[in-house]
């Protein structure tokens, strides 16, 4: 029996957002594409599950880079251009910050946000707005430069703020504004979405995060993130992409330094001119390349020289009361005992107690998402992989319950309601859950930490030299744009663009 064509232009490993974005873009250019996904549905972590008859969002808090229908940002525009017609709902607020001495709900829009910060910390409007506007200019430069690279003098001329801040950490730049600590605290909550303390986090990344989320707001798909993933997959198939589920790729086949196909766990050997891997470079270079000696030492040095970023731990619940009866007032709450991000980042190395939690109640952005009389409520922290690496299979269940309990207790105290009395369904998602369903290296969802030593600007500069095996590209959180569902789409498109550019170059020869 023959299940595959003799040859594909491109084989994509992984049918999550990055892989599907790459497939869409390649199919749009008329290439023949095969997507191999290990799970039995698309989306990777952008998915949902059904418990007790109720569909539950698995991971998505808020999707960035979408934008209003008539003014799309890059991800929203890409979906529109590809005919991926997601029903987007705008998340009502940026976040509610529950920090030492502060209970403030902040809304998107640079001026709105600055005014609301000023409401809580009077006299800060001008400075906060100046920070946000600087972020916005850097953000616009990053977007433009990622499409139209230019020479350094040109860059300095047209993108001075980007150039001047590139060499500095978030802390260093924020310090220059002389803002009171409370105002700084209110600017900090999103840090967890990139997961590095401010002393290490490049200001460039902070800018993108703030300008995108605060400037334009965030979105969620009406039928949960599975709607987005499935619509991408359906559109890709309609464009001729072959997607095969439950196919685990074991090996990437390489000859003379060039990828030419893959072998699946089932034993199928499939040939393609290019391979795009959503599997981490760590997995690829240490386990998947065949023959193993086709991996140059520089590739190993590169993965060893980088720090894995965060993984995820979520307690996802369906509660047996409507949100308002439980005192849940905001779609998203960021709660911390301190807003010292460097300290918090340090704590994420362990197994708790986790003092910085993000909570989502989907019903407040998506009414009717659960049956009447119930609501969904998730509590998430994003630990580093370090602590979880030490947990054995026998300890795992105990540790997972202990951590979940601490998080539930913390939020029960905050809400003044014992959540344990209202749990209709509960799913505890751990780093191991991530590893099980997606195969991500050490359950890491955020790729490599954004640090001053692994800066996005540096990643862009050295990307070319890090393509160690010809015709092998990578897509996913481990690539240049880093983590998050919006960047996943961008990373996938970048991989597809690399393939298309190489095809054009080789055709020209």
């Amino acid at each position: 029996m023959k299940f595959y064509r003799d040859h594909y232009d491109v084989i994509v490993i992984g049918g999550a957002l990055a892989g599907l974005s790459a497939a869409l873009m390649l199919a749009d250019k008329g290439k023949s594409v095969l997507v191999l996904e290990r799970h039995n549905l698309p989306g990777g972590l952008a998915t949902s599950y059904v418990r007790g008859g109720i569909e539950i969002e698995a991971t998505l808090h808020e999707m960035m880079s979408i934008g209003e229908k008539n003014n799309r940002l890059k991800v929203g525009k890409f979906f529109d251009d590809m005919g991926v017609d997601v029903e987007w709902l705008k998340v009502p607020e940026a976040y509610h910050a529950s920090l030492p001495g502060l209970e403030v709900t902040l809304h998107p829009g640079l001026e709105t946000f600055a005014r609301e910060v000023d409401g809580a910390v009077p006299g800060t409007y001008d400075k906060v707005l100046a920070v946000l506007q600087l972020c916005d200019r850097v953000f616009n430069s990053v977007n433009e430069l990622s499409i139209h690279p230019m020479s350094k003098p040109q860059m300095l001329l047209k993108h001075p703020d980007f150039v001047k801040t590139a060499g500095y950490s978030t802390q260093e730049v924020l310090d220059t504004f002389g803002l009171p600590q409370k105002a700084l605290d209110l600017l900090a909550p999103y840090w967890i979405y990139v997961g590095t303390g401010f002393r290490e986090l490049p200001f460039t990344i902070f800018s993108v995060l703030m300008a995108d989320y605060v400037g334009y707001g965030s979105y969620i798909p009406k039928k949960l993130s599975h709607e987005m993933s499935l619509k991408m997959a359906e559109r890709a198939e309609a464009m001729g992409v072959q997607i095969e589920y439950r196919q685990h790729v074991d090996k990437i086949l390489v000859k003379n330094g060039q990828a030419y196909g893959v072998r699946t766990a089932r034993g199928d050997e499939i040939y393609g001119d290019y391979v795009i891997s959503s599997a981490y470079p760590n997995s690829v270079y240490t386990h998947m390349i065949e023959p193993a000696d086709a991996v140059p030492p520089e590739a190993i040095k590169m993965v060893n020289g980088r720090r894995l970023s965060l993984t995820a731990f979520s307690v996802v619940m369906i509660l047996d009361r409507p949100a308002e009866e439980l005192g849940i007032k905001d779609y998203s709450v960021f709660r911390g005992d301190t807003m010292d991000t460097d300290k918090l980042y340090g704590e994420l190395k362990g197994l708790g107690p986790y003092r910085y939690l993000t909570c989502i109640c989907h019903n407040l952005g998506n009414p009717g998402v659960t049956p009447e009389g119930t609501c969904s409520y998730s509590i998430t922290t994003l630990p580093r992989v370090d602590g979880w690496k030490t947990v054995s299979a026998d300890e795992y269940d105990r540790v997972k319950h202990q951590v979940a309990r601490q998080m539930i207790d913390t939020m029960s105290e905050y809400l003044g309601v014992n959540l344990l009395d209202h749990i209709l369904e509960i799913v505890i998602e751990t780093p191991m859950t991530v590893a099980h369903y997606t195969g991500m290296w050490n359950g890491c969802i955020y790729g490599y930490a954004h640090t001053m030593a692994d800066h996005i600007v540096a990643r862009l500069q050295t990307a070319e030299a890090e393509r160690f095996i010809r015709h092998l590209e990578f897509s996913g959180a481990h690539q240049i744009s880093g983590d998050g569902m919006g960047p996943a789409v961008t990373n996938g498109r970048k991989a597809a663009k690399n393939v298309l550019d190489t095809m054009a170059e080789e055709a020209a020869k």
């Binding site: 220059t176 095969e244 760590n282 040095k301 269940d397 099980h436 540096a458």
Partner: protein, 394 residues
């Protein structure tokens, strides 16, 4: 905005690039292959395992317990008491899968020579795999098994400490696992099993359960058959009986035949129990799909043409209207992965490319977007026209 000196620094890009290259230059060139978090995930979920039958014993006069160990021995994956395992049975050219609640305890699987057991009752002529196990399976036979599936287990953060299990017939099996785990001290809750049977001389696992009774495990037999000498509880698992054994805060777990589910749904309503305190095991494959609301009766005697795409390969097979797509595939020797066979787990998620199907309303565990795009769980979908489907390559 007052621009501080360093904001005029234009060398930042070069500086961070140098820092990055320096970090790589200093890094080791020895591959780090360890993925401990992935290793734990694989220990819990190793996929299908090759298992060998090492013991078969009577569980009653009509039921047998079959013990499986890993081929070559060793620990089995952890699971939760109450979960099921999927066993693949080779039948001629086909491979037919069935889910069975594991009746042994998780701690027994985690021993050096770990094992899992299922307890299977002879059918009344409608369960050929159950009869096959009772009649033909022998020590030394090997099967591929997936251990630890399903959501029917005690969750301490959700459930009350006092648990009343409502078991009917061979529905006792998940509770046997729970009772063993509680008795062993590795599951912390109080378990009272109300166990409905027809005849006192045919109670599945009766002796083994009796040996587990103690401070935290109570077994209450409830007999529906007419036996004058019976000293214990009689009749069905009524609201009144359930109330008698309940604590003020109790979680109810229910596992048994479909007819019992319908009965107990009504009985439990009378007790005004919060929704979160009631947990039913999956419904099981519909015995007769034509009795469900909205089933198109005009289809019932028809056999349709089912076109099955796997990759670029295509087969055309017959499919009876009253049998699920999964059964049609298994009859034709086409492999499809199944789990709960109750429409819940989604292992058999299948795209309907054209044609129409009827989805059993008791067993519709699909995602909303899946419904919009014609996905079905093939174990709970019945053809009502010629149908074209796409399934994964196994």
């Amino acid at each position: 905005m007052k621009v501080k000196g360093f904001l005029k620094d234009v060398g930042g890009a070069s500086r961070v690039t140098k820092a990055r290259l320096a970090a790589f230059a200093q890094a080791s060139s020895t591959p780090v292959r360890t993925d401990p978090i992935g290793d734990v995930a694989r220990e819990w979920h190793p996929g299908k395992l090759d298992m060998v039958v090492t013991e078969i014993r009577a569980a009653s006069k009509t039921a047998k317990t079959v013990r499986f160990e890993k081929v070559g021995g060793g620990k089995l994956p952890p699971f939760y008491a109450g979960q099921f395992m999927v066993v693949d049975f080779p039948m001629g050219d086909s491979l037919i899968s069935r889910p069975y609640s594991i009746s042994s305890a998780p701690w027994q699987a985690r021993q050096e020579k770990g094992f899992v057991e299922i307890t299977v009752r002879r059918s009344r002529g409608d369960g050929f795999i159950c009869d096959h196990i009772n009649d033909n399976v022998k020590v030394g036979d090997t099967f591929r098994c997936l251990i630890g599936c399903g959501q029917f287990y005690y969750e301490p953060l959700r459930d009350a400490r006092h648990v009343v299990a409502l078991a009917g017939g061979v529905g006792i099996t998940p509770f046997a696992a729970m009772a063993r785990e509680v008795a062993h001290g590795t599951l912390d809750m109080d378990l009272t099993i109300l166990y409905g049977s027809v005849a006192s001389d045919d109670i599945t696992l009766r002796d083994e359960l009796a040996a587990l009774e103690g401070e935290h495990v109570h077994i209450v037999h409830v007999l529906s058959g007419d036996e004058p000498d019976w000293q214990g509880e009689r009749g069905f698992l009524t609201a009144e009986l359930i109330r008698k054994y309940s604590a003020p805060d109790t979680t109810y777990f229910i596992c048994g035949p479909q007819v019992m589910y319908r009965f107990l749904r009504e009985e439990l309503k009378k007790l005004d129990i919060p929704r979160r305190r009631v947990r039913f095991e999956v419904f099981g494959q519909a015995k007769d799909i034509t009795v469900f609301p909205g089933y198109p009766q005009e289809c019932r005697d028809k056999t349709y043409q089912l076109t099955v795409r796997r990759g670029i390969h295509e087969d055309v097979i017959p499919a009876r209207a009253t049998e699920s797509l999964v059964v049609a595939l298994e009859r034709a020797g086409i492999r499809i992965e199944t789990g709960c066979r109750s429409g819940e787990c989604g292992f058999c998620r299948t795209k309907v490319l054209s044609g129409s199907v009827y989805v059993c309303p008791e067993n519709d565990g699909r995602r909303a977007a899946d419904k919009d795009f014609g996905y079905v769980h093939a174990c709970a979908a019945y053809p009502t026209s010629d149908v074209v489907i796409k399934i994964p390559i196994e």
